[in-house]
């Protein structure tokens, strides 16, 4: 099973690379993301970039976007381009295909986010160098690594659900964009609140125990991830896929 999963990851990786060929897409797009999140934001925030709890939110947000950009293509795209049935006619099991595809999407979103984290760390150290190496507080570091992984998994799980129902890649991407807005836009709207409400919100955020919040949020997301995976195992079924795919 592990060999089959890595085979799917091998193929998916090559498909991701060729998803948006040309200078404006592909590698260039990824370099821009890494430049913004790994250089621009750390330069603006300075040392706070390493210690502020909001950093965790940013690194949880990025993998969601990255996974969304590939997961619909991986599932709905395989069906839309009529390659799914041939894959199902091979010796690969349904689970190997499903896990391989989900793993590829997670590895893509999580991997690029972690590269951004490392680039950001280097940027802060260069810009704020004071003779000693600057690093995240252990809790923030753990929270970034865990939350970005769990959110990447969440995005992949949602992507599978949506893609299995969607008629096309475009429709799947549109639905996932709506899910993204529902999940993250409330946070982006915070600065638009009246001053007194903003202060109240900041006080409320400042008074909460960060460690508890991270643990509770991680457990909730993990449970949702596992639930989505279980449902995906049931729905990603050869007979059903062949019938609905044609």
């Amino acid at each position: 099973m592990l060999t089959d999963i890595t085979t799917i990851i091998w193929k998916e990786t090559r498909e991701f690379i060729t998803l948006r060929p040309g200078l404006r897409g592909g590698w260039t797009g990824l370099l821009i993301i890494i430049a913004v999140f790994g250089i621009l934001f750390p330069l603006q925030s300075g040392r706070d970039w390493l210690s502020a709890p909001t950093t965790v939110l940013m690194w949880a947000w990025l993998p969601f976007i990255l996974v969304n950009s590939v997961v619909a293509d991986s599932f709905a795209g395989e069906r839309e381009r009529n390659t799914l049935e041939t894959l199902l006619a091979s010796r690969l099991s349904d689970r190997a295909i499903l896990i391989g595809k989900i793993s590829s999407a997670i590895a893509y979103g999580w991997g690029i986010s972690l590269i951004g984290v490392v680039v950001g760390l280097v940027t802060v150290n260069i810009s704020q160098w004071g003779g000693e190496f600057l690093f995240f507080p252990p809790l923030i570091c753990l929270a970034i690594i865990t939350s970005s992984f769990l959110v990447a998994w969440l995005a992949a799980g949602l992507g599978v659900m949506v893609s299995l129902k969607a008629a096309s890649v475009r429709q799947a991407q549109q639905t996932l964009s709506v899910a993204f807005l529902l999940l993250f836009v409330p946070l982006l709207l915070l600065p638009l609140l009246p001053n007194n409400l903003q202060v109240a919100a900041q006080n409320a955020l400042g008074s909460i125990n960060f460690q508890s919040v991270i643990i509770i949020a991680s457990i909730i997301i993990l449970l949702i991830d596992l639930g989505l995976l279980m449902v995906a195992f049931r729905r990603f079924n050869r007979s059903q896929l062949v019938i609905t795919g044609n």
Partner: protein
């Protein structure tokens, strides 16, 4: 006893209230090429999906390479190759990466994979363009690549679903040539869906004709021709006396005789050599100028069987 690659018994599949396949019973001997003919929507693709274990039958049974399709579908897929309705090629990837991926799927060791990629792409004259994204290729080239992919792991049984559909006549002819060579070289059993009768006549030792999910004809091309009608002999000449006609009617191979002016039309009971009949006519005093023996073509057989109880058949290709 002949080893069977495929054996189906009353195999049926419904989609809701629609009966896609009704009680299909066929046997495909190992090492043969079996052609499954029928108009669009007749149930050909459903049959391949059932035989590959991609769909479960509503009723009936089937064994493929000795494995039951319901309980051992994975064992079947391990030993089969497939070029389905859509070629299944990853167009953003190169030909080399397409084959590399399926080589990995079939767990072929890396060194063998590389040699096999070279062998197949060279045989199909695609080697020089192996690094290009397949999206830049013609449809015919993509079909060839899909054929290479289907044969990559040296399957015992190859399923082809209308392999030349949508190709121009020249590309289709080249693909048929390649298929013929590859099948001979690789020694596989082939189950081929087609509505191209010339293709079936040329490649297939056995043929099944399906209409609206039901098998309406089954056998070798010669058997099917015989089912549709026996050969007919048209003899032009003189002096076809009553005595000559009586002698002709007495022969067991002669079914009926019709005389019209200087022409005799003889319906034969079976496929026989016609020289003894002509010789008998000449001995009895008839003067024979021309002898024409005609037999139903596969196209006529197909049309006869398909049109039985049905006035119109849409969208089939008789090229």
């Amino acid at each position: 006893m002949t080893e069977l690659a495929i054996k189906t018994e009353e195999l049926s599949r419904d989609f809701g209230s629609i009966r896609a396949l009704e009680s299909l019973s066929i046997q495909v001997p190992a090492g043969s090429v079996f052609g499954f003919l029928g108009p669009n929507g007749a149930g050909k693709t459903t049959t391949i999906r059932l035989l590959l274990g991609l769909l479960e039958p509503t009723r009936g049974h089937a064994q493929v390479l000795g494995h039951d399709i319901e309980h051992h579908a994975n064992e079947i897929r391990i030993q089969c190759g497939a070029l389905l309705e859509h070629n299944g090629i990853y167009e953003r990837l190169s030909a080399e990466n397409n084959l590399e991926f399926y080589g990995r799927v079939w767990r072929i060791p890396a060194s063998v994979r590389q040699a096999r990629i070279r062998e197949l792409l060279t045989n199909l004259e695609l080697w020089e363009r192996r690094k290009e994204p397949v999206s830049k290729w013609s449809r015919g080239m993509k079909q060839k690549l899909a054929m290479a992919r289907a044969l990559f792991h040296r399957p015992k049984l190859l399923f082809l679903d209308e392999p030349t559909a949508g190709l121009d006549p020249a590309a289709a002819a080249r693909l048929r040539d390649d298929l013929e060579k590859l099948v001979e070289f690789e020694g596989v059993t082939v189950f081929m869906n087609t509505h191209n009768l010339a293709e079936a006549e040329r490649l297939c030792q056995q043929i099944g004709i399906i209409r609206r999910g039901e098998l309406v004809g089954y056998g070798s091309p010669n058997d099917l021709r015989a089912q549709a009608g026996n050969p007919q002999l048209t003899i032009t000449g003189k002096d076809f006396s009553s005595q000559v006609l009586l002698e002709l009617r007495a022969r067991p191979e002669v079914g009926s005789i019709e005389k019209q002016n200087n022409r005799l039309t003889i319906q034969l009971e079976e496929i026989v050599e016609t020289a003894p009949l002509v010789s008998m006519l000449v001995s009895a005093g008839a003067q024979v100028e021309e002898v024409i023996k005609t037999q139903s073509s596969l196209e006529e057989v197909f049309l006869t069987l398909i049109n039985e109880n049905e006035e119109s058949v849409e969208e089939f290709d008789v090229n």
